[in-house]
Symmetry: C2
Subunit: 526 residues, 2 copies
């Protein structure tokens, strides 16, 4: 079923000269399929089709978009074993993870399907006219959210399904009414093509315009750069490294018409273990965190890479147990030789920093591409003085900072870059550490009490984002139905004839959506 070609709208295409293969980190061998990298001609075709498709797609009703999104979910499920096998062969991740991520992906698609079917997400606001107002009459103004235009989505290495081809960015963009061009991630181009085929099938079945979706292969940066700079592209979604996300952000900002880039980037997800928690629950937390740090070989944006505590016997004991527990955990395969290569390099750079002590590292021999977990410690003053220690080590690694006192701990938090999450472990003491909570809130998008940061619930209350560099714009989230806001803009109709207004804004409220009419929230007509 995998052809190695690009989807330019509904057609498979491979007119370029560059090819590449994906890699199976479990077997340490290349996979069989040969992928054709998108050429400039294909990029032009995809963007042109997307622009044409936008004219129609932006007017597709919520009910039809709902069908489309649900059908994508169905078609992804219909891919059955082939998808799961391909996923595993391109990531080294276990089948259970593949199945879980597929469930999450179809759940996201169906959540957006429900959102657009119900329809109130457009936030219709109607201020009716008052011809008798003094000193001048009041005009009729009606507002709703409309789509931005074609969106480019970059697949993420660590989530081939949930944050890639038909992941949250794409589902949100389709729900908004934006065509999507995916720059497929080269590490899982086969998984990408299968999911792309599901989207194309769904688009054809539900009568979506050709060009509503394209999937472009690429092993390097050129295709992505061309897309972000292309005048037809109106927004960009990205999940990945700070270096990659920042490069795209800079390119988009330098365009003659700048466009929004929502990049969800790295994070070390600080965890604060308060004194009582270390004393009373230190052992439990150590065991729990050994699991959280090594989950998925630490290849999560929300991996807890930094643990902050007050230097005392309780913290020493927490470190001891964590170190003992983490080496008991079976190492797992990482996504790609490049990923494990970066992990080992970044870990080595970190270990070379003055004052860093290694507390746990695995001695035994491992299969190729298996990640060797590690725990290190450092003094608070050393951490403060050396920002190299603040960087992310993407993999099963965490560093415990032993702070002299609470003031130093607070100072460390305030000096951190923006983070996706912050966690506080506390036992009947949280109310005494208000300034720690405040400092952490200031640096993160989500704050967690007595838990682990890994595991991002897909629900309307979720914020997956945060101050830079956790994301390029803290005003949006990448997870949850609110993530649709990244791809829409408010638009006002003034004195517009009722019969020519979109259904969302007509007097009759034919969709029965919730609107704000003259300041009152109502489902009624006018």
């Amino acid at each position: 079923m995998i052809t190695g070609k690009n989807y330019i709208g509904n057609l498979l295409s491979s007119i370029g000269n560059k090819t590449f293969k994906t890699f199976n980190p479990q077997t340490n061998l290349e996979n069989e399929f040969v992928f054709s990298e998108a050429s400039n001609v294909e990029i032009e075709q995809a963007t042109e089709l997307a622009t044409e498709a936008f004219q129609k797609f932006q007017k597709v009703t919520g009910a039809k978009k709902c069908e489309f999104l649900n059908e994508i979910a169905n078609e992804i499920e219909n891919l059955g074993d082939e998808l799961i096998k391909t996923y595993c062969s391109e990531t080294g991740l276990p089948e259970g993870r593949a199945l879980g991520e597929r469930d999450r992906t179809v759940f996201q698609l169906r959540s957006f399907a429900n959102l657009v079917k119900e329809g109130s997400w457009v936030e219709a606001v109607i201020d009716t006219a008052d011809p008798n107002r003094q000193p001048i009459p009041k005009v009729d103004i009606r507002k709703m959210l409309i789509p931005l235009g074609p969106v480019v989505v970059f697949g993420a290495s660590n989530f081939p399904l949930a944050y890639s081809t038909a992941g949250g960015d794409t589902a949100a963009a389709f729900a908004a009414g934006c065509p999507v061009i995916v720059k497929s991630h080269p590490m899982h181009a086969g998984t990408g093509e299968l999911v792309a085929s599901a989207i194309i099938k769904a688009a054809e079945k539900t009568g979506m315009p050709n060009g509503v979706f394209s999937n472009l292969n690429s092993s390097g940066i050129e295709v992505g750069v061309s897309l972000v700079k292309h005048p037809a592209v109106k927004a960009v979604g990205f999940t990945g490294s700070i270096r990659g996300g920042r490069a795209l952000y800079d390119m988009a900002a330098q365009r003659s018409e700048p466009i929004p880039v929502f990049a969800e980037m790295g994070s070390i997800n600080p965890v604060v273990i308060l004194p009582n928690a270390a004393k009373i629950k230190g052992t439990d937390w150590a065991k729990t965190y050994a699991g959280s740090i090594t989950l998925g070989s630490g290849q999560f944006c929300t991996n807890p890479g930094l643990i902050l505590g007050i230097k005392n016997d309780d913290l020493s004991s927490f470190i001891k147990v964590l170190s003992e527990e983490i080496v008991k955990i079976e190492p797992s395969c990482m996504l790609h030789p490049n990923i494990i290569g970066n992990y080992e390099n970044n870990k080595a750079k970190m270990l070379a920093q003055k004052g860093l002590e290694t507390k746990a590292t695995l001695d035994k021999e491992l299969s190729a591409n298996y990640g060797r977990q590690a725990i290190t410690t450092v003094e608070g003053a050393t951490f403060l003085a050396n920002t190299n220690l603040h960087q992310e080590v993407f993999g099963p690694y965490s560093m415990i900072v032993q702070c002299e006192n609470i003031a130093q701990l607070e100072e460390i938090i305030s000096k951190l870059e923006g983070q996706l999450t912050g966690t506080i472990l506390a036992e009947n003491e949280l109310e005494n550490y208000g300034s720690i909570v405040d400092a952490l809130q200031n640096r993160v998008g989500r704050i967690i009490f007595n838990g682990v940061p890994t595991g991002v619930e897909v629900c309307p209350a979720m914020v997956h984002g945060g101050p830079y560099p956790a994301s390029t714009d803290s005003r949006f989230t990448a997870v949850g139905t609110e993530s649709i806001k990244r791809w829409v803009r408010p638009f006002s109709f003034q004195s517009w004839p009722n019969e020519l207004l979109p259904n969302e804004l007509k007097n009759e409220n034919p969709l029965g959506i919730l609107r704000v009419v003259d300041g009152k929230r109502t489902n009624s007509n006018i």
Copy 2:
């Protein structure tokens, strides 16, 4: 009452060496007061105070922020005649305009006061825990909007009150919980200081933290540049020229921590006069537009600078009447010699373009600084071929493009840069021009039927913004209470103890706000 000093928080300060005066364009003389430009030391003090103030201000209740905003409105009214006289002496605008703009400004402040008092604007979303969910328990997650941090606001030359010191940007930022540092506009520094004094009085009366507001004088660009680059500043609001707004946007994007800039910039606000409208209502529209083009000497962001019609006798007649009517209107004083200088320069550059015909221009002698209205025409093909003709001429000027046919008119619309507004004049024909409406919708933030673009109603349904370069981010509006969204970000609490949550998210819903709880909109407690 005017001291010429900066407000660094609650204290007047003038330690710098640079000074400047404002100018009265009606008398063509400098005004008496000497303003002290903010020094680097004062910039540091203001940003440091703002950072400190943010720690407290972000926790101030909606009820207290309501008091603060209402008190600012009261104190602005209390400035009485002195404010109106200063306004007129620094702008050349008539007293009626000053009074109207003051009313608009206090209305905006009171609208935001009501918004934060009611409290539901934080968009609280609560997804409660489900410990029995399979395969893993569901955690409790609660989200609300929280302020970004200190905001820098640039005063606008053409709205000394409504878009300056205590204008929409500032009111929205205070409502959000963000301290504000205003870079006062040098053309109306006296008006700015008076309004700043009202804000400071209100802050002291209602117990707001020192540093919640500062007002910095500056005649050049240095103070603004320092502020936008300052690490303590978390967002920027600007109303003005494309050149100025883009420069700030670029600076903010190039910071090591990029920050959002909402710049509302120039626009030529295209107006389409459809064939029947030109035939049946041409004369009426010509008279109406003569007024709209010259209103406030054309010094509005929403001034109609471009009129598109189909070349025929009806359009010729429209042009003739518009040209006759516009010269009957008494010219008015422009804001400043620099503004009229730019107007005359830009008009001259425009008139030098090949194919442009002048249809109306005033022959009589005018007082210094009075703007000379002008109407020009050009063929559709000429307009398409020369993007110099697409630029804004800020002043009482408009150009009519005589298109060969509807296809050309549509092509012209699709080639325009982003605009604040687009207007369609039609008589029982709008339903036949769907593609014109679509093309226009794609380029603008607000679309108007049978009206004029000037006059921006302050109401929740208003969008004042639009695709670049109308604004730097079309996903936000500068007018209406929704403009608060520019200065806030979503934030999630996971498994947080109920008693330590903000009131907006507590089970008891002590504020009685509207929340979404497990997918249902409700004012009830949990």
